[in-house]
Amino acid sequence: MLQSSLLDMRVYTSTEKRDVKKVPFLELFENRLQGIVSSGSDIERVYVSYFEVGSLDYCCSTNNNRPCGGLRGAPCGHLEALLSEAVIQFGFDAVGRFLRIDTTQVDSIHKILASAGNNTGLYAGEIFSRFLDDLELLELPSSDMPLTTMMWFNG
């Protein structure tokens, strides 16, 4: 069987719409589901939130490295928003697989939250820089030239 030069790049598409205002950035990266969640009250403030793969340990803090006031021994509303939006973007199964959850038992967002681990208390500043890097892509110049290299990224 000959190999293909292409990947099947079709991405999961949900019928539900992502709330990008609430969660402007999220990704399944290295060993974390991580992202940025907007503050409900202050437009200048965002929260840096993550769940770790396997343990489901979590953390949420402001981008100025202050712990989120909503963390009282359980994931806060920001973490819940991060998880819900991840499910919309990637699908429940993909998120569950990534976090190494037994989705036959833990079959809802609510149950994932209920089986969360501990607050790591470790602020992950690199998530905020990755968010800024992502935003910077929007400010780069566009092009009207043919780009044949994109033939490998048909999807």
Binding site: M1, L2, Q3, S4, S5, L6, L7, D8, M9, R10, V11, T13, R18, V20, K21, P24, F25, L26, E27, I43, E44, Q89, L132, D133, D134, L135, E136, L137, L138, E139, L140, P141, S142, S143, D144, M145, P146, L147, T148, T149, M150, M151, W152, F153, N154, G155
Partner: protein, 443 residues
């Protein structure tokens, strides 16, 4: 004529075998020598300028002497093999479609009269990947490229490099840790590696555009994307006097990862007038529009005015049908690769069965699954289509782009995106993130 399309061609299998052997070196890397495989390469290029360079490179690599020029030579050899495949397959497709093969246009040599530090560090990174081997990639070996990559993106002259390398970089990151050799899409990664390596030799001078005047019939559109970049390619037939030519217009943009689905189209407001003509099935009259030898238009909004309404499928069948003398320019020499085969073809007398296109000649073509296009459901009950003929993994396939709906009205892939762009919502992922960018990045 089409019944010959799927016959086996002389030489194709042999080249594919050579490529597979060469690619095997990239799986476990070059440490420890790949002497036997590499030793067979130079003789294939007997009498060509590449031959002596290959001999030197192969001998050095077998002794674990790693200099980036040797890897550039390997990339050149691989590109020559893929280019030969492209020529063979394209010639066959053209013969089958009853089109005359246009000879490659004047080539544009890469003229690396000055080295660029960003390209130097790109070649260095690619060499390190090859030495390690794709099955043994360490995260650090991949991520070390990130700072170069962000700088490459900031340079508009390197957008082609940046689009490819950004896609390749994140694909590799997402694949780590590589669990086993079966998880390596080897052909694809060595393809991307080779193209990136050759592109990093220097910045090619842009070919000088000619100008075109005549009626442009926009017929279809295609979105190509990876998580951080998207290209919109609009296809059409350009009539200049008696000559009908297949032409493209491309617009490209980086994107934030949260911008997905139809919202990607909102990144291309400059494409709206042309897309509106596609939607309305209205021709555009071009006057002195810049056009590259490859058939790519370089859109100039001052060089167009609105033309007459037309019937897209009628135009497609009249100019892109079997036996029609459509001019389709080949790829520039360095970009030749089977993946670049995309012969436009308008068909009637077909049936859709099990997700495949059955032609009356007995030929069965797969509907191209990895690429964006109309689906088997879209094509159910239709009697005419326009698509692109592709070749990948040893198979010919078709990417349908234009057909008609049960009411007989034309239907094209991407319509929902075009309609979204026509009436952009007040708030969208694009507008929200642009607002965020202006708030957070100016600090």
């Amino acid at each position: 004529m089409l019944e010959n399309l799927t016959i086996e061609l002389d030489g194709v299998k042999a080249i594919q075998t050579i490529l597979a052997d060469l690619d095997a070196c990239f799986l476990h890397g070059f440490v420890g020598g790949q002497h036997e495989i590499l030793a067979a390469l130079p003789s294939l290029f007997d009498g060509m300028p590449l031959c002596s360079r290959l001999q030197t490179s192969v001998q050095a690599l077998a002794q674990n002497t790693f200099i980036e020029g040797y890897f550039v030579t390997l990339a050149a050899a691989r590109s020559a093999l893929q280019g030969t495949l492209y020529d063979l397959l394209r010639h066959h497709a053209l013969t089958t479609l009853g089109r005359s093969a246009t000879t490659p246009t004047d080539h544009l040599p890469i003229s690396p009269n000055q080295t660029d530090p960003l390209l130097d560090s790109t070649r260095e990174w690619l060499m390190e990947l090859a030495i390690a081997g794709f099955a043994r990639l360490e995260r650090e070996a991949v991520t070390s490229f990130y700072s170069t990559l962000t700088q490459l993106r900031a340079n508009p002259a390197m957008i082609s490099h940046a689009a490819l390398l950004t896609g390749f970089f994140h694909e590799l990151i997402n694949a780590l840790p590589v669990k086993s050799t079966t998880h390596v899409p080897l052909l694809r990664w060595v393809d991307l590696w080779s193209r990136a390596m050759l592109d990093a030799v220097g910045l090619a001078k842009l070919p000088i555009p000619a100008t075109a005047s005549g009626a442009l019939y926009p017929l279809s559109v295609e979105l190509r994307q990876h998580s951080r970049f998207a290209s919109l390619v609009i296809y059409g037939v350009l009539k200049q006097g008696d000559v009908a030519q297949w032409v493209r217009q491309t617009w490209s943009s980086f994107k934030a990862t949260a911008i997905q689905g139809n919202e990607i189209w909102l990144l291309f407001p400059q494409a709206q007038p042309l897309l509106e003509h596609l939607l309305q099935a209205k021709a555009m009259n071009l006057r002195d529009m810049p056009i590259l030898p490859s058939g790519d238009l370089l859109w100039d909004a001052n060089a167009v005015e609105s033309g007459k309404k037309f019937k897209p499928l009628d135009i497609a069948l009249a100019y892109c049908g079997i036996g029609q003398a459509l001019v389709v320019s080949p790829m520039p020499p360095l970009e030749r690769h089977p993946i670049q085969l995309a012969e436009p073809i308008a068909l009637t007398d077909y049936a859709i069965q099990d997700g495949q296109l059955h032609l009356k000649e007995g030929v069965v073509l797969a509907l191209d699954a990895p690429r964006a296009g109309l689906t088997a459901e879209d094509l159910a009950g239709t009697t005419a289509l326009l698509g692109l003929l592709h070749y990948d993994a040893g198979e010919w396939s078709i990417q349908p782009l234009l057909t008609h709906n049960p009411a007989g009205k034309f239907e094209f892939a991407g319509r929902a995106g075009v309609e979204l762009l026509k009436k952009p919502p007040k708030t969208s992922t694009v507008s929200i993130l642009q607002e965020r960018a202006s708030r957070l990045l100016r600090k």
